[in-house]
């Protein structure tokens, strides 16, 4: 770890300075996380009267449980679709905003504000737009001969949460794509233009490859977002339904633990998610390290 040449002396002061952060971390992060790991190895009977140590049995059961496997699948579809949709839209807008000379600040402002909208509110907005009886999108679709009812149709419910989740995330991706585009040296683009590459060809052969670090970084961030931050969208609009069509993993942890009170299974699911975040964090940090050298 890089260090300062100068440092102050003393032990008590740094200990006191670190105490609040470490205390909060220990009490609200490390202890609960270790409890989750511990509970994932236990099973309670139906009345919560006896607890037995079952080793990895909770995990084994999870992977034999079709509802869990379906939730994994739902999560993969949802997060992949959300990442792709919001990143492509953001890239399109960023490329456009990077091109315009006049009004670019105004456009930026108009594109970034949804970052401030809570996912659950994004869900509620689109829930109204898609409402089968009065929503404008359902109305238009009806005009096109498509009957829309996400309350009954699982695929349509999935589309609803994907659209809501992507809508909110476009602005975040936009900010990073635009920053990435603006850091590409103009001279590179001009050199390509002199070499006779038209705007479209330039985009695919020069701009896009140079944006790949940004894209990779955003892909990881968007996955984390879709996995965890979108809980509110699901909870407020579809409740994981119809059936389990939109039960993403985080929602299932919540449902099984808080509502179903299946503590062992919920804890095991938490632990799996934890491993997933740890893996993503490591990937992200290795990547950032490379970005520093780049």
């Amino acid at each position: 770890m890089t260090d300062k040449r100068v440092s102050f002396s003393g032990l008590l002061l740094p200990a006191a300075l670190l105490a609040p952060q470490l205390a909060v971390t220990a009490v609200f992060f490390l202890w609960p996380a270790s409890q989750a790991v511990y509970q994932s190895l236990l099973r309670q009977d139906a009345f919560g009267l006896s607890v037995t140590f079952v080793g990895l049995d909770n995990f084994v059961r999870l992977f034999e449980d079709s509802s869990y496997l379906s939730s994994v699948q739902v999560t993969i579809v949802f997060s992949a679709a959300t990442a792709i949709l919001s990143m492509s839209a953001a890239l399109l807008f960023a490329v456009a905003a990077d091109r315009v000379l006049r009004g670019s600040t105004a456009y930026k402002t108009l594109l970034i504000w949804p970052y401030a909208v809570a996912p659950v509110l994004a869900g509620v907005l689109w829930w109204l737009m898609f409402n089968p009886s009065i929503g404008i999108i359902a109305y238009i679709l009806r005009g096109l001969g498509i009957s829309w009812n996400h309350v009954l149709d699982g695929d349509q419910a999935m589309i609803l949460i994907i659209v809501a989740a992507s809508w909110k995330q476009v602005s975040y991706n936009f900010v990073f794509f635009l920053a990435g585009l603006q850091s590409i040296p103009r001279s590179l683009i001009e050199a390509a233009a002199i070499d006779g590459a038209g705007p479209v060809k330039r985009f695919f052969t020069v701009t896009l490859p140079l944006l790949s670090p940004t894209s990779f970084f955003l892909a990881v961030v968007n996955l984390v977002y879709a996995f965890f931050d979108t809980f509110g969208i699901v909870h407020a609009t579809t409740n994981g339904g119809p059936g389990t069509a939109t039960t993403i993993l985080v929602y299932k942890v919540f449902k099984d633990g808080f509502i179903g009170l299946n503590l062992g299974s919920s804890a095991a699911q938490s632990v799996i998610l934890m491993l997933f975040v740890i893996a993503l964090t490591i990937i992200q940090f290795r990547f950032i390290e490379r970005r520093v050298h780049y």
Binding site: F8, L11, A15, A116, V120, V124, G232, H235, F258
Partner: protein, 282 residues
């Protein structure tokens, strides 16, 4: 741009206008809905243009709430949200400044251990430790309190790393000059480090205020009593009324009010926001 092609410029503006419109559409619809009365939502197509019930609807949700759903007046929920968002932003910044100061400017045993413990918080979002964290908070008697809403969220590896990065760019000679000028560690922290980090602090504040305001799952867990509902989570109680048509006009008025403060913050501090967002990920 490298070359002038009028059709490309037109296309560019068209894309942006369309994009901005698409982004704004749901909020426009929600706003329009929030200015009508319940009878306008019975069937067919919802109203797309604002009606004349703006003052009435907003006054109703602000002052009275929707009693049938057990939701308190949104005025109270907005207040709760403000308290929570400010506590989280200020708390995170404060404890992160202190710990980054300790990590960068002191040498002490177990420094690496402290660093890694803080790093671990990055890997443990609340969503993966829902139940045990709830139990801890319940055990401490913090359910339905502002402390319970905010303190468990104020540990922050990202903020600590951000300030560590900022401190590392501050020249050593400045610290030495301050030492010669007779400034001890805390004086140096207050007189030099904090003022020199103030734009980073402000940028981070914008991000963290929005982060705190938009918390959903955590308030949902630790508030069982309507008096501590926050605006963002409170709306779920209005949406989830079983066996009746949603009261669209009141729900949307609430949604608009709940998103207004952070959106205003972003619009007013756009530059700080963009800086904060990008720095935080470094």
């Amino acid at each position: 741009m490298v070359e002038r092609r009028p059709y490309l410029t037109v296309l560019t503006h068209l894309t942006l206008i369309l994009g901005a419109g698409l982004i704004a559409l749901p909020v426009w619809i929600a706003f329009a809905a929030s200015t009508h009365e319940a009878s306008d939502f019975l069937s067919g197509l919802m109203p797309l243009l604002p009606g004349d019930k703006l003052v009435e609807n907003y006054w109703k949700v602000l002052a009275h709430g929707e009693s049938s759903a057990g939701a308190p007046p949104i005025g109270l929920m907005l207040f709760n949200s403000t308290v929570m968002a400010l506590s989280i932003a200020v708390g995170k910044i404060a404890i992160s400044l202190l710990s980054a100061f300790a990590i960068v400017y002191f040498r002490f045993p177990l420094k690496m251990a402290a660093f890694w413990i803080i790093f671990l918080t990055l890997m443990l979002p609340v969503e993966v430790r829902i139940l045990p964290t709830y139990e801890v908070v319940a055990g401490l008697g913090l359910l339905n309190t502002y402390a319970g809403l905010s303190i468990p969220l104020i540990a922050s590896a990202t903020a600590t790393f951000l300030f560590r990065q900022v401190f590392l760019t501050i020249p050593d000679e400045l610290t030495e000059a301050a030492r010669i000028d007779g400034a001890g560690p805390m004086k140096f922290f207050r007189d030099i480090l904090i003022p020199l980090s103030r734009t980073n602090i402000a940028a981070l504040f914008v991000i963290l205020f929005i982060y705190g305001w938009n918390q959903y799952l955590w308030p949902l867990l630790v508030t069982t009593d309507a008096s501590h509902y926050t605006a963002v989570m409170g709306i779920q109680r209005m949406v989830a009324v079983p066996d009746s048509e949603p009261l669209w006009h009141l729900i949307m008025a609430t949604a608009i009010l709940a998103m207004l403060p952070p959106v205003v913050v972003i619009l007013l501090m756009q530059r700080l926001f963009v800086q904060g967002l990008i720095e935080q990920e470094k």
